[in-house]
């Protein structure tokens, strides 16, 4: 049922705030909507029939407008809020069935949370704050200080361990919040609008930092945001919530290309698609301009101005430039000298390159294989389509 790379599985989760949740659930079954139920019963629908999985090692962004149930959703994961019905599995283990002691264990070891308001303890130093989770778990002082220092170093705050939170700027405080969560070395990091209280410059800086930390440790991060740009910037996959419902889950590109409904479409309307789409999404593989080089022999130049040379494994070697009339010049045009575009480059960054070189841009995957090419025409076409 659970594939190995699914770290968190959410199944039919409902959350009703109020004292008569069953009544609200019955009305939901009959097709009543959130406002109607609130008017008739006073019950608030927090989350409505959520179903999705989070993959190991990805940044999963849950995004939606204010009141759409994002905060409720993350708090269901570590059961700061108890679901009304449904089940959640972490590594195949059902979180929703745990007793109090097991639940404490999950909160101490598996999931750590970063808060919008930082929620640092004002009476503790930065070091004590970073070690807070470990202290709660009963880790001895020496060990927890060592790990807290490590975490502080990771977020670039090593010099401030004896300061108090109120002596730090907002960005630094949130770094402490991040260090506190990292010190526990959790399998999942839950971040509830962690950067929303920061000014735009610091926010971008923190986003980069998060992307770096995630790439280094392959940590699973569930990130809540109401800012679509932020979601697209850091999210490998995005879940869009509306009125307690998860409307669509997918990569930014998938959602941009196939919005599930009109709501999602309007949501994505103002998005700069050149920032969402990646080179790999628009690159086309045209076999007629690709030449396979076997056993190091110089390939025959086809009767077209440009051709791309790959080796037996499909790895990109260079461009064959027929205009110079010299086939062996191809090998001198090593991929480094060329404008080779990695697979996951945002189109935004490809625009400048495309203008600078006369031939289509080769797009390569992470292991160096030629994924396809982007011509100026195809670039313009794909941008104008959105």
């Amino acid at each position: 049922m659970n594939r190995d790379d699914d770290i968190l599985v959410v199944k039919n989760i409902f959350k009703v705030f109020g004292d008569r949740p069953q009544e609200a659930l019955k009305m939901l079954e009959k097709g009543a909507d959130k406002d109607e139920i609130f008017k008739k019963t006073g019950q608030v629908i927090g989350v409505f029939d959520a179903n999705f999985t989070v993959k190991r090692g990805e940044i999963f962004v849950i995004m939606g407008l204010s009141g759409s149930g994002k905060s409720t959703m993350v708090r269901l994961f570590n059961r700061l809020i108890e679901p009304t019905s449904g089940s959640i599995y972490l590594n195949g283990k059902e979180i929703t069935g745990l007793n109090d002691k097991q639940l404490l264990d999950v909160r101490r070891k598996e999931m750590s949370m970063v808060f919008q308001s930082f929620a640092l303890m004002p009476h503790m130093t930065v070091l004590e704050n970073a070690a807070f989770g470990l202290e709660i778990s009963g880790v001895a002082e020496k060990e927890r200080n060592r790990r807290a220092r490590e975490a502080l170093a990771q977020v670039g705050l090593a010099a401030h361990e004896y300061s108090y939170p109120h002596q730090l700027s907002g960005g630094m405080q949130q770094r402490v919040g991040l260090a506190r969560a990292l010190a526990n070395d959790p399998s999942i990091l839950l971040m509830d609008e962690a950067f929303s209280a920061l000014d735009p410059l610091i926010r971008t800086e923190m986003q980069d930092e998060l992307i770096r930390l995630q790439a280094e440790h392959k940590r699973t991060i569930i990130f809540i945001s109401h800012d679509l740009d932020e979601a697209i910037r850091i999210g490998h996959r995005i879940a869009i919530m509306e009125g307690g419902r998860v409307v669509q889950v997918g990569t930014p590109q998938e959602i941009l290309n196939n919005p599930a409904d009109a709501y999602v479409e309007t949501f994505f309307k103002n998005v700069d698609s050149s920032k969402v789409l990646r080179a790999g999404d628009v690159a086309k593989f045209e076999s007629e301009i690709v030449v396979r080089q076997t056993n190091g022999a110089t390939p025959e130049a086809p009767a077209i101005p440009y051709a791309f040379i790959v080796d037996n494994d499909g790895r990109f070697l260079g461009v064959l430039d027929n205009c110079t009339g010299r086939a062996d010049g191809a090998r001198k045009l090593a991929p480094k000298d060329l404008s080779v575009v990695p697979f996951d480059t945002p189109l935004h960054d490809v625009l400048g390159l495309a203008a600078a070189v006369p031939y289509p841009l080769p797009v390569v995957t992470r292991d160096g294989a030629l994924h396809g090419t982007i011509s100026r025409e195809s670039l313009l076409k794909s941008l104008s389509r959105h």
């Binding site: 570590n78 700061l80 404490l104 264990d105 999950v106 909160r107 101490r108 999931m111 750590s112 949370m113 808060f115 308001s117 929620a119 640092l120 303890m121 004002p122 009476h123 807070f132 989770g133 202290e135 709660i136 778990s137 004896y162 108090y164 109120h166 002596q167 506190r180 526990n184 839950l190």
Partner: protein, 320 residues
């Protein structure tokens, strides 16, 4: 007997509250006297312990210790203030009486803390308990002390112990209220963070709620202390010794000199205790201290001097 009158029904419609109280009191005195006498024991022990300790210290030593305490808690200026107030207590000739009163006050504050803090914590946790306790606290604070002075004497006799009891009744409410308030005022996001990291209720209380409520609780302690002091004169009516008795005797004999000396003594003691506890509260709130408590004040100085003697002399890094 007049007939039932609709406009003034209370000519005939009455409950004999006074009679009931008297009857039940007589019942309690007859049947439970031993129980109440048993309550005296712990109070007696604490009170006598504190009093004999305070009286055994010679005034000079007392003044020095008191000012060192002030210095440790809130810096040198506080130390000076403590020295001056204590010195004046001696100068006007009420040192021994002050120590007796101080013992009484400290004993009642001790018991207030013993019961008040846990009660406040429970009130913060259980809304129902708070709803129930609140009117009781109101009654304790507003009921004139004279009303319960008599039953307390009937149950416990006269002397210092019933004096402490009366004082506790009057001085307990602010500590309970402010402990409750302090804990309820801890920001929800801090509580949520502690929960998210897997804190047990006990860890939550000791690592988050109490530390963050300390300042408010210290304000409660300060109030409790001041109320205890203000009960001293009334408590002396049931033959509690100390400054209160001086005031009472002075009033009884129309000896204004005696009454004033006792009164001034009480004021000096109040200033000493008030400033000291207030400073403690403020210190618990200030987090921008670069040194721990044992690195500051006379203890810090002592430790540094000790350190200097043991190792080769180096520069003293921190000024006082």
């Amino acid at each position: 007997m007049s007939e039932f009158n609709l406009l003034d029904p209370f000519q005939t419609l009455q409950i004999p509250l006074g009679d009931w109280v008297e009857a039940s009191l007589t019942y309690f005195v007859q049947h439970f006297r031993d129980v109440f006498r048993a309550v005296r024991w712990p109070i007696d022990q604490v009170l006598n312990g504190i009093e004999s300790l305070l009286l055994s210290v010679p005034p000079t030593i007392g003044i020095i210790l008191g000012s060192l305490l002030g210095w440790q808690v809130a810096g040198r200026r506080m130390g000076m203030l403590c020295a001056v107030t204590l010195f004046f207590l001696g100068l006007i000739g009420v040192w021994a009486e002050s120590m007796t009163t101080l013992a009484l006050v400290l004993t009642s504050v001790f018991f207030c803390g013993l019961f008040g803090v846990p009660l406040g914590i429970l009130c913060a946790r259980y809304d129902r308990l708070e709803k129930f306790i609140r009117p009781v606290l109101d009654a304790m604070q507003t009921l004139p002390a004279f009303v319960y002075l008599v039953p307390v004497v009937m149950l416990f006799g006269i002397g210092n112990v019933p004096g402490v009891l009366v004082t506790i009744v009057f001085a307990l409410p602010p500590l309970v209220r402010l402990t409750n308030l302090g804990i309820r005022q801890v920001p929800a996001d801090k509580i949520e963070a502690a929960r998210a990291f897997g804190a047990t209720p006990w860890q939550m209380l000791t690592r988050v709620q109490l530390p963050l409520a300390t300042q408010t609780m210290m304000a409660g302690l300060n109030q409790t202390l001041m109320l205890s002091l203000s009960m001293v004169v009334i408590a002396s009516m049931i033959s509690v010794g100390g400054l209160g008795q001086m005031v009472l005797r002075g009033i009884g004999r129309l000896d204004m000199g005696l009454a004033t000396v006792g009164g001034v003594g009480l004021v000096l003691l109040a200033i000493f205790l008030d400033r000291l506890t207030q400073a403690m509260g403020e210190r618990s709130a200030s987090t921008d201290m670069t040194r721990r408590w044992y690195q500051r004040g006379p203890i810090g100085l002592g430790l540094r001097l000790l350190h200097l003697n043991h190792t080769k002399p180096g520069p003293v890094r921190h000024a006082l």
